[in-house]
């Protein structure tokens, strides 16, 4: 095929026609070609080496030890806080107040929201054939599972009488009374547990071929057996791949409505009530957009250090980060749109309580939290309109952290402002957290980070098989150059 273009056309950017693209040089956009998703001209064995090298290294980088030390300490603090809570009672939190749902539920919703990015990447982006997902899906799915674990913990410890926690599950009690399935709280239990289970299955299924790779590369007997058991004897059989791919597609198609349902159900916890500021019909899609927003922010926050620390810049490229930042921008705009819609309808409805609830958010005692939320969620992501900013590591780190903060405050605003001033002023009160609230939240971050660091240490951080599958194949090009027989990295000049 000829490559002649009209005379005015500029030359193709690096990486477009089989040339090799250097680190972070693949953020160009040219309608004639798709930018490469893997830079540095990596071939199949180099991809394997790069990813497996992380887990196979005799010891991780020093930064890993420091991070692990900090997060393990925080996890220990979490354990102490939970023990203190169990032995003393929920009174140790600031919830002895009309704001009977506070930090614990804020944290729950925040963590669940963060847990949406992984499945979004593995399912929805898969259905939309977004091949760049392969560079980030493994870590994002792992992060999802850990975030959902952190989330699930909060309702569990929030119930006060923890020995009654079994009543969250469909088990009849001693009087044969079953849980009340018409309650959104019960829907939550089903939704979050289903989500955790399906995400874990999906994640594990994606891991199968890569665990087999780890098994086949293992140098010690212990590792060979350990990875071998979990690889289930995977041998890359094409009859196996055929069913595997179909199962993957089905799981993606199932997870797509599932991921929407989870945060919708979380939003039902609020929206089925009659409280102004909670009872609004846009909550389900708005919560889902916010969840994706915060989830992607967390993925960016985690992957920027991960790619630098473990030498994965050719696989988790600037283009991946830029695409995630675009999604942050889109979902940030959606969230802003939902804020606007709520305000508009609160005004339009003429319902004095609705109007009060929203004006109070912006102007009354919790206005600081409201404006923090607006700044972090609506204003800060607007920086991503500029390509130079959304491809700048410092900017994206700062914005992603702002988004994480802003989304936490969004849940704070929704939960605390609405409960602290609802209808009759007799039932109003100002809520403040206690030190136990704060340390529990910090501790949950420690748990999350501990799990994530362990994941980075022992499992393939990037989906090896999936990345290989999106390397340019040569079905339409019978005579491959460059990729068909992979080049050693040493030959590559950029």
């Amino acid at each position: 095929m000829s490559t002649s273009m009209s005379t005015t056309a500029p030359p193709l950017p690096p990486g477009a026609d089989g040339t090799i693209c250097g680190v972070d040089q693949n953020t160009w956009d040219d309608p004639r070609a798709r930018a490469p998703l893997i830079t540095g001209g990596l071939g199949y064995p180099e991809i394997t080496d790069t990813v497996c090298g992380v887990a196979e290294a005799p010891r991780p980088p020093r930064a890993w030890y420091i991070a692990f030390g900090v997060s393990a300490t925080l996890t220990a603090i979490l354990g102490c806080m939970i023990a203190y809570l169990f032995f003393t009672g929920v009174g140790v939190w600031g919830n002895t107040n009309p704001v009977f749902w506070a930090w614990d539920i804020v944290n729950f919703v925040w963590w669940v929201g963060i847990g949406h990015a992984g499945t979004l990447i593995s399912a929805i982006l898969f259905l939309f054939r977004q091949k760049w997902r392969t560079g980030i899906n493994r870590a994002a799915e792992a992060m999802t599972i850990f975030a959902v674990i952190c989330a699930g913990m909060f309702p569990g410890i929030h119930i006060g009488r923890v020995w009654m926690a079994y009543y969250l599950f469909p088990i009849p009690n001693q009087m044969d009374v079953w849980p009340q399935f018409r309650s959104p709280l019960m829907w939550d239990v089903f939704a979050v547990n289903t989500y955790l289970t399906v995400s874990a299955l999906f994640w594990y299924m994606g891991l199968l071929p890569d665990l087999a790779t780890m098994r086949d590369r293992a140098t010690s007997r212990v590792k060979q057996i350990a990875y071998g058991i979990f690889a289930l004897g995977w041998r890359g059989s094409n009859r196996g791949w055929h069913r595997y791919e179909r199962a993957y597609l089905i799981l993606a198609a199932l997870s797509t409505p599932l991921v929407l349902s989870v945060h919708s159900v979380v939003s039902f916890d609020f929206a089925t009530s009659q409280l102004p500021g909670w009872h609004t019909t846009i909550f389900p899609p708005y919560f889902v957009a916010g969840a994706i927003f915060s989830g992607f922010a967390m993925v960016v926050t985690l992957l920027v250090p991960v790619r630098a620390l473990f030498g994965l810049k050719h696989l988790i490229t600037m283009r991946h980060l830029e695409n995630m930042n675009k999604i942050i921008l889109v979902t940030g705009c959606m969230v802003g749109f939902a804020y606007g819609t709520e305000f508009f309808i609160a005004w339009y409805s003429g319902n004095p309580f609705e109007g009060f609830a929203f004006l109070a958010r912006a102007r009354a005692h919790y206005a600081w939290s409201y404006w923090t939320m607006i700044f972090c969620n609506v204003v800060a992501p607007q920086l991503f309109w500029f390509k130079s900013l959304r491809t700048s590591i410092p900017v994206m780190i700062v914005v992603a952290i702002f988004v994480n903060i802003g989304m936490w405050f969004e849940r704070f605003v929704i939960i605390v402002t609405s409960l602290s001033a609802d209808f009759l002023p007799a039932a109003w009160d100002y809520y403040s957290p206690t030190w136990v609230d704060m340390l529990t939240f910090l501790g949950s971050m420690g748990l999350f980070m501990t799990l994530f660091l362990l994941f980075c240490r022992y499992l393939p951080v990037v989906a090896i098989a999936e990345v290989k599958a999106v390397l340019p194949h040569h079905h339409h090009h019978p005579h491959p150059e460059g990729h068909g027989t992979p080049k050693p990295v040493s030959e590559v000049t950029t």
């Binding site: 289970t197 299955l201 071929p209 041998r235 890359g236 069913r243 089905i250 159900v265 599958a469 079905h475």
Partner: protein, 214 residues
């Protein structure tokens, strides 16, 4: 697993290594696809390709029929929907005679009541005991849960996994099947398998041939 661990447990004391089949190695997926077409046309059934990632077009080259997995998942999903609805209808909506059974004294109730828990209708938030809008979220979740189990475990079952011992693991070369090499394996148990002629076919495919022995 390495070759040394894959000795077939069931085999009686065999004289010399047992021949398990041939393994042909290719460097790139296109060569594999072309070779797979030839093996397919030779009429083998107990053979397979092994690749580090799913290779587009290989299903056709091997003549693989679409899997029945979607139907299994559909069945599981429908079961999940119905199961979720029945669970809620039964536990919140109706009181079946099991409760009468429990009210009787004696051995029957002592033994059976844990297994026949009764429903317990009670009205909460002014909703009817069985109110479909409020029952949909859980029915949806059970649908997804059962479908996902069916998709994952169905895939494993149809693939015959876990299976820790397989002839291909006998080859040390095969370790690269999960890295950067592409293999065809033809098992000796195939009815069309003839050690000499299959070896000739294997040699004609343009890859590196290895005999699988254990």
């Amino acid at each position: 697993m390495s070759a040394s661990t894959t000795a077939p447990e069931t085999a009686p004391v065999a004289v010399g290594p047992q021949h398990l089949g041939v393994l042909i190695e290719f460097a790139d997926p296109d060569a594999l696809t072309r070779a797979a077409e030839k093996v397919r046309d030779a009429g083998f059934t107990k053979w397979d390709c092994h690749t580090p990632f799913p290779v587009h077009g290989l299903d056709k080259a091997m003549g693989i029929k679409p899997t029945i997995l979607p139907w299994i998942v559909f069945g599981a999903g429908a079961t999940g929907t119905l199961g979720g609805l029945i669970l809620q209808l039964y536990t919140n909506g109706i009181e079946l005679p099991f409760s009468m059974l429990q009210s009787t004294t004696g051995l029957v109730s002592e033994v059976l009541s844990p297994f026949l828990p009764s429903g317990y209708p009670y009205v909460v938030s002014g909703k009817p005991v069985f109110s479909v809008p409020a029952n949909i979220p859980i029915a949806f979740e059970t649908t997804v849960l059962l479908s996902a189990f069916a998709a994952f475990f169905g895939m494993l079952a149809l693939n015959g996994l876990p299976r820790f011992f397989h002839p291909v693991f006998a080859s040390e070369r095969f370790r690269r099947a999960t890295n950067d090499r592409f293999f065809i394996s033809i098992e000796a148990v195939d009815p069309k398998y003839d050690r000499k002629r299959t070896r000739e076919l294997a040699d004609s495919l343009g890859g590196t041939v290895d005999e699988l022995e254990a």
